[in-house]
Every structure is written in C-alpha cells, then in structure tokens.
Symmetry: C2
Subunit: 372 residues, 2 copies
C-alpha cells in the first residue's frame, strides 16, 4: 500500500488538485452575496469554455451528470417533439431510457460500441422522418472511450433545421466544443470530469430563447432547466439548496483550467497522458480496443490479457495497493478494463501506472511482453 | 469584518465542523470498495437515527432536499393515488407544486403560516375522501419555524389505513422521528441541516416492500427511489455518480452526531441555542412571530423592529461584517427575519449574536430595549 491516496484512473470522479479540495474548507450561505458571486462567475466561465455567445446561458443543475441530461431532455424536447438518439454505448442507451421514462417520443440509431454513427445515415433519417425535432449525440462514449463525430453531425442537424443536444460529459474542458459555431441546441456536462472539479453538479448550456419557450415543459420540478434559469436570472440564487462546497471547488478548478491554457492546454496534457498509457501498455502487449483514429484522449478501453491467470478483481486490488484505482470495462463484446487519462494526471504518472501493471501481471503470473 | 469565516445562522446549509469539511480533502473512486463501505455505513446510520426497523431502508438521492422530496412523491404515490398535502408554508406549497408538475392528484389542506394543521380536520378529510392514499406532512415548516404535530397526525393517518410521507428536512437528527413506531411510509431529509453535513445529498427512508411495489412508478429516471434502491442493494454502488466528497463529509458528521449523544444530545444543544437567541433578542424587544408552544428549536422567525430606520439589507450586511449571516423572512403576513439554531452553534455564540444585533441596531439608529 502506498503512503499517498490512490490516483483515480477512472472516467471520473477524477483525482482533483489539493487546491480544489481545499476550496471546500469553507461554509457558504447559499443566499449570501458572496456565494451568488461565485455562482455567477462559474456560469460565465463555463459559457466561455463552451465557446457560446450571448444568446446562450449556462444553467447548473444539482446532482450527477445524468440528472443534467434528464433535465435537458425533459426541458428542451417538447411533449410533442421527437428525439433521435445516436447510441453506441451505455450513455446513449441511458438517454433513450430517460426519454422513455419521461414520456418523450424517440427513435434510436444504434451502432456497434466501436463504430461511430455515420453522418450520412443521420442525414437520411432526418430527411425520412420530419417529426424528429431533436438529436442526442454523446461526444465521447465513456463505455468504450470512442470519440463520436461532433462536427459533421452538428452541420447536418443544423442544415436540416433540427436541434442537436450534445452530451459532452467526458470531453467538456479538454476537447473544443464550438457551441455557437456549430449551432448546438444544448451542451451538457458535469464538474467532475475534464474540468477536474468534484462531483455533485452538472450544467446545461442552452439558448435563452429556447429556455424561455420551454418554461412549463419539464416533467419534473427539480430537473426543470428553464425554471432554474428564470429564477437564477431574477435572484442570482439557486431555486433549491445548491451544493455550495462543490460549486466553490468548481470555481477553483476553473482557475486551474484557465491557468493551464484552457481547453487546448488541458487537452494537450490529456493527449500526452493518453499517448503514455497506450504506448506503455502496448509495450506490455495490452492493446486498446478502439482503433487509434476513433479513440478519445479521455478514457481508453483495453482488452484484458488472454491468459488463464488473469482476472479483473485481483488485478484491480493489486493495482490499488500500488496506488492506482482503475475502472472495469463496460463493453458487451469483450473482456476489458478502462483507464482514464483525466484528472491531475501527467505522462510521468501514466508511466508509473505502466510499471505497476507490469509488476502486478508478474505477481499474478500473467505472461506479458517486456517494455522496450 | 471579523477574521474568522462568518457563522451561518440560516436554515441550512449550516456551519459545519472543521473535521466534517476536512473529510472532503480526499478523492474517492465511486466504484471502489472503500467508497461502497462509506455508502453502506451512512445508509445504516441514517436508518438508526430514524428509529426505523429492518422493514425499512435508506436510499440516498443526489441533489438538494427538494430533489429527495420529489423523488419520494414520484416514486411512492402511485399514478392512480391521491395525496393530501398539509400546507402551512412554502415547503408544503412546494410539495403540492411538485405533485402538480409530476402528474399526481392531490388535495391541499392549508392553514395559516402560524397555525398547525388540526389532526381532527385531517381525520375528517381522510374519512370523507377514501381516494386519498398518501398524506404529506412537513415536520418543521422552515418558512416560519413552526413545529407541526407529527405524532397525532401519524396516528390518525395510520388508523385510517393511509400512508404518511414526512418531510423531516429541518428536524432529522435533532428531534426524535420514531419512524417504525409511528408507522411512517417515508421520511425525507438531507445532509446539510441538523445532521451538520454539507449540501449535495438528500435521502428517503421507506419500507422495502413499498419500494419493491413502486418499481417503474416514478416519473423520472434520476429521481427514482425504487430503482436507486434496487441497484444499490445489488451492487453496493450508486446508479449515477455520487457526490463522493459530500458523502464522506456526511459520514464524518454522523460520527459527531453520535458523539454528541445522537438526536437527544443534538436536540438539547439546539434547544439551548434557541433559548439563548429568543431570550436575548426579546431582551432587545425583538419578538418571535410564532408562540413558544408551537415553535421548533431549529429556526426562529422574528418580527423586524417597527422603526423607520430599520431595513433588512443594511441590518444583514452589518451583522455579516460582525461575523454572522442571518436569513431573510419568508412569511407573507409580516416583515420578518430568521435565525437558525442549527450547525456547530452554541448558546455562547448565540449570546454573541445578540450582542452584535444590539450594536448593529445602535449603528443604524434603531431604537431598542437594553438587555437586562
């Protein structure tokens, strides 16, 4: 067991900086002007990260990212609307499950977990079904780590006069999301992934005009983005108790995001992390499942070694004892595990992970190649 | 301006202990066994605080207390059910608003903000309308600080074979809630009030048999208590990313709750706080709005001084500069402000508040009595 707390090599919650955690050492009055100022600052900075213009606003929603996705779908897809969900993993499927539960019509365009949706097929579906009002795309599908083709799909959805809702949970803050340029209807993300905040809040970036039109539409009071927005604009406060410490931590995390050079700087570090872990584990004979060209730099799915001595749980436990918490696979097609490249990780730490994996495989008696 | 952070004399989020905040200085893997152990421990301890037996379970829900109330109502009141909401303030009204939004039938029994619901009238309504399946009672209505008559109402609801859902947001952990003895259907509260945790999670204590029967009933995926429960029982994990730091803080806060002697110990300190602030401000001629016999020891509404030099905002700002953040009134009938007695406050601190109020009134040129 190492002396330090283990690094989280997961899709998030990720390891955050000491400064971000230290921002939680103060209690805030949720009604007080000082906390209202934090809320306003966080909202403005998230809007800037999203490259959104003045026609957009950022509405934070208490809870996990899934809460924010449900809130966006329930608020923005009208009861008479119809959504097309592009699904190649668990999060696309969950969006469809959400629509079913909240009583919104939808169609599903499913591709294999290692295959991105084809923009040409999306275009064909939109042409063939004029009742589709909204399209839901998951930017990086955490199930596999695949990066779906945002730009071509956004251009098609916009050209066909439909609205694109982007689940950017695993990319926001690390990969560019040109919200205004791509004419996105909404972008949804959470504090605890590439922004390196702590979990407890998500947010929806949407057009003010859409939110105004959506007042009263939501299936839920707590998850009503339009009502949350209207109240926040009027009072500067949250409708219901905000997770004050989580918001203060996000504010501090956004300082660090800016200091790192914003999205390009953060993305560059994650890409270097990704390179280091993929090259390193490849050196041991452990291959990523998704082809490099389709792979996001955020989270990587690796095939488990094909060796009778390998089992996930002892592998996990021993890596944890070495100070690294990895993540189980979620793929249906193959035995896999996942490594996240997000959080306060560096290529150096990723190198340490590779060394630890080699030691653990030796301990378990799992045959592997030797790193060059 | 004082050197320390201001004390929060609000209905919550309250001032938490340094130990509770320090528990947030670590990142947890939400899938990891260490975090699962924290979740299991917190759930078991909350169940014990609720005096619930083995037929009940505790299901945490991400978000604010209002999220947990909506989750409980949406999950437990069947689509064919009908709720009777006992409302004498903003939180009762919000429960009714929630039911309207999520498409559940309800009746409203409204009393004045300083009048508790009459158990005899509740009985009469239940007899006259057999379609009422559930009753929603707010234990302490934070609007005024009034304590509503839990025990007589619970006995009537049980005797009439209906189900009582208790919003115990402002009392849980400080006033006894004998869940099993009173045959309660559900008890809802949050981390950041009398339990002295930080905001970001609520919870629903309900019967396992009711949750089992309610599977598929909820209007929302994120706010489905039955589904959250079923998944937690199966995996030990949360369905969607938990606010890990908030849960770790709650675990530590529950240590302190136990060390203080549990609910009786916590309630005794709050009662002493309440006595100190009410007696102290009375000494200055500032009177509580609710008669002592109906008043909870958690939050007190005071009438603003009837003096042309008094205005809430300068009063608030100067008290904040003295290190005390109070809360505005929410009563419709009179100009008021509120003082919370919860959090890591003591009678000594409440005495300091009274001295600060006297100084601030002097500064503002507001006439007041002199403390004896």
């Amino acid at each position: 067991m190492t002396a330090r707390d283990p690094y989280l090599l997961t899709p998030g919650p990720a390891t955050t900086s000491p400064e971000t955690k230290a921002a939680m050492l103060r209690d805030w009055g949720s009604w007080d002007g000082d906390f209202k100022a934090i809320t306003a600052r966080v909202r403005a900075r998230l809007l800037a990260v999203a490259e959104a213009d003045d026609s957009y606003t950022c509405v934070p929603i208490q809870g996990s990212g899934t809460f924010a996705v449900e809130a966006a779908l329930g608020t923005l897809v009208p009861r008479t609307g119809r959504a097309l969900v592009l699904a190649n993993g668990a999060y696309g499927k969950r969006a469809a499950e959400t629509l079913a539960r909240i009583g919104r019509e939808y169609d599903l365009y499913t591709t294999d977990e290692s295959t991105p949706p084809d923009p040409v097929e999306v275009d064909r579906i939109l042409i063939s079904d004029p009742s589709i009002s909204h399209v839901l795309l998951v930017h990086c599908e955490t199930t596999s780590g695949i990066l779906n083709p945002l730009e071509p799909i956004a251009r098609i959805v916009s050209a066909r006069g439909r609205a694109l809702i982007l689940d950017a949970m695993s990319t926001f803050g690390a990969l560019p999301i040109p919200t205004a340029t791509l004419d996105l209807c909404a972008v949804i993300a959470s504090a605890n992934k590439c922004l390196e905040g702590v979990p407890g809040v998500g947010f929806v970036i949407a057009r003010k005009s859409d939110l105004k039109a959506a007042l009263g539409n939501a299936h839920s009071l707590s998850l009503d983005v339009a009502d949350q927005w209207a109240y926040m604009e009027k009072t500067g406060q949250w409708r219901y108790t905000p997770p004050t410490h989580v918001i203060a931590a996000l504010d501090t995390a956004l300082d660090q995001h800016a200091a790192e050079g914003g999205t390009p700087g953060r993305g560059a570090r994650y890409s270097a992390n990704h390179r280091a872990i993929v090259d390193g584990l490849r050196g041991l004979g452990i291959e990523p499942l998704i082809p490099d060209a389709l792979q996001s730099p955020i989270i990587v799915t690796f095939r488990c070694p094909d060796d009778p001595n390998f089992a996930f749980q002892p592998f996990y436990d021993r890596l944890k004892a070495e100070g690294f918490i990895i993540y189980p696979g979620k793929m249906t097609a193959a035995e896999t595990f996942r490594i996240g490249c997000l959080g306060v990780l560096t290529p150096q730490i990723m190198g340490d992970v590779v060394s630890a994996v080699a030691r653990v495989l030796d301990d378990l008696g799992v045959a592997h190649r030797r790193a060059a």
